[in-house]
């Protein structure tokens, strides 16, 4: 019959491509991170530096500040998306005319390129051409300027992310809500449970796995946001929206300090893995004993 050799031949292109463009870059960045290397310096060669780069990171104020705003951004954006997404999913649960049509429209932002999302919101919020600052100015006299106000820029990036990704949360939660069995709800209604009680004691525990999966996917994506923010604010004003990906793009590349840049990449990768692992075990594991 058929031999396994043919199977390996079929798998070979995938393994080769992913090795050269996925694994090797990773190993290379780890290797470079232990060196001092600036190709445009007086000494353009790699100099072994031990853990020096990593020691530098711990005291790097710009990097730590970037880490801080990233965590704040991810927290507020994902929290808003899950709450709004749940409410919208719940609003889709009853029948009304044009349901499929509205659902399609609501899904639209998902497929738009992140960089285009950034440019759309730039056009919406830039003073003098944007409609949002104009409306705020003429209606309540509030002067919105994302080029000057750090808080405004931070909030607009969150609104942009919510606009872009809430549909994903909505659709995944619709899928979860549709698959729920009707019996517990009918039983609870017969027993005279209130809406809030039903939500808290029946709906939430039953859709918890789906919510967790969605939160997980959103967290991973929100942690690595770059394109939109790069386009909208460029990380500014100051460093108010300099999220970690933007920081690497803006700070590490132009400086051509490859050793230090690699070290930052390694640290960010490590932190992402740890964060995901902690979330995974912290949120999913405690639920298991209760389920059995």
């Amino acid at each position: 019959m058929k031999s396994n050799t043919f199977g390996w031949i079929l798998l070979a292109p995938t393994i080769v491509v992913l090795f050269f463009f996925g694994v090797l870059p990773f190993l290379y960045v780890v290797y470079v991170s232990f060196h001092q290397w600036n190709p445009f310096a007086a000494n353009p060669y790699m100099i072994y530096n031990g853990a020096g780069n990593f020691r530098q990171i711990v005291f790097d104020g710009a990097f730590l500040a970037s880490l801080g705003v990233t965590v704040a951004f991810v927290f507020f954006a994902v929290l808003t998306e899950v709450i709004v997404g749940y409410l919208l999913a719940q609003a889709f649960m009853s029948d009304f005319p044009g349901k499929a049509f509205f659902r399609t429209i609501h899904t639209l932002p998902l497929i738009i390129a992140p960089i285009i999302v950034g440019s759309i919101w730039k056009l919406m919020t830039t003073p003098s051409i944007g409609i949002i600052p104009h409306l705020l100015q003429s209606s309540v006299g509030f002067d919105l300027n994302i080029g000057q106000s750090a808080a405004a820029a931070f909030i607009i990036t969150i609104i942009m992310d919510v606009w872009h990704w809430t549909p994903l949360v909505t659709l995944t939660l619709i899928a979860a809500l549709v698959s729920l069995p009707p019996d517990p709800f009918e039983q609870a209604q017969i027993d005279g449970a209130g809406k809030w009680q039903i939500f808290w004691h029946i709906t939430l525990p039953m859709i918890a796995p789906a919510v967790m999966a969605t939160v997980f996917i959103r967290l991973m994506d929100a942690l690595r946001i770059v394109d939109e923010v790069l386009m909208l604010t460029g990380g500014g004003p100051g460093s108010a929206t300099r999220y970690i990906g933007v920081h690497i793009f803006r700070e590490v590349f132009p400086r051509t300090n490859y050793g230090y840049g690699s070290a930052i990449s390694v640290v960010v990768l490590y932190l992402t893995i740890v964060a995901c692992w902690l979330l995974y075990t912290g949120m999913l594991a405690p639920r298991k004993p209760r389920k059995s």
Binding site: F96, F102, T104, S119, I120
Partner: protein, 278 residues
């Protein structure tokens, strides 16, 4: 449950749809507003439509080149990843390879890492290591096609696996008994049956490659620059060509919207790696 009147819901969703669509509409408004009118009072209603920005984008040879690059890179990448992904899925599904489930999981780890982390190593590898006598992969279309495989190939494998697994093994075996070569079984028995799944994978990988910005911005200078990177070139410190920027955005948006209407149902399943069926 008691029957409610549906009209409040309709009203609610009209409102939500308005919020969803308005930013896209505003992009269109800016793109058709003549530049001298741009800085007068912003108005929601279009006064007159001026297609000048669009003719300027189409008439610009540099931007036409970028558009061509985008088209070639995303098409090349979609075909490459779907083909490789299909082969890999067939191997994972039909052969008893040692550690194949580990390989399957390993592929997706390539997609989990933040792309910003891989900018520097990929840049260094493309310029310093992957070179044959002065020829480097930096700023070449083929280089970008290969680089995009890091996020599209795992996606293709993960979305195609259920499709290939779903084709009954008996069909292959019957063909083998009839004396067909393994290659012939793949191309003439399995491939035609997988066509719908392959089409969805092809389209979604195409969109991801088309939408990509960060890697293209760092790994290309001019020759292989894509439309998304061309967009950021119109945002400079001395001023932004708002109308042109909006017109390029519209050009980048249109293919994605066409694709969206085709594979709408599969998008959520795709974006969540099949964790949720849309």
């Amino acid at each position: 449950m008691k029957k409610k009147t549906p009209w409040p819901y309709v009203f609610f969703w009209v409102l939500i749809s308005f919020l969803t669509l308005f930013p896209i509409y505003w992009l269109f408004v800016i793109s058709v507003t003549p530049s001298f009118e741009l800085f007068s009072t912003p108005s929601v209603i279009l006064q007159h439509v001026d297609w000048q920005n669009y003719t300027e984008v189409i008439g610009n040879p540099t931007l036409r080149g970028y558009m061509m690059n985008s088209l070639l890179i995303s098409s090349g990448n979609a075909i490459l990843t779907t083909t490789f992904g299909f082969f890999a899925c067939y191997a994972l599904s039909r052969f008893n390879l040692s550690g194949k489930e580990s390989i399957f999981f390993w592929t997706i780890t390539n997609r989990m890492a933040p792309p910003a982390v891989f900018l520097l190593p990929l840049f260094l590898l493309l310029t310093k290591v992957y070179r044959i006598e002065g020829f480097t992969l930096l700023d070449t279309r083929i280089g970008m096609i290969l680089v995009y495989c890091t996020f599209n190939l795992p996606f293709a494998i993960w979305t195609l696996r259920p499709t290939v697994d779903g084709i009954p093994k008996e069909l292959d075996e019957a063909a083998f008994v009839d004396g067909a070569s393994p290659w012939k079984v793949i191309t003439e028995v399995v491939f035609p049956l997988c066509r719908p799944g392959l089409a969805v994978t092809l389209i979604l990988t195409w969109v991801f490659a088309w939408n990509e910005y960060l890697l293209a911005a760092t790994l290309t200078n001019f020759n292989a620059r894509t439309l998304t990177t061309g967009l950021s070139e119109y945002v400079t410190t001395t001023g932004t060509a708002w109308g042109i920027m909006a017109a390029i955005s519209i050009f980048t948006l249109i293919p994605a919207l066409i694709v969206f209407s085709v594979v709408q149902r599969h998008i959520v399943a795709g974006l969540t790696f099949g964790a949720v069926k849309g």
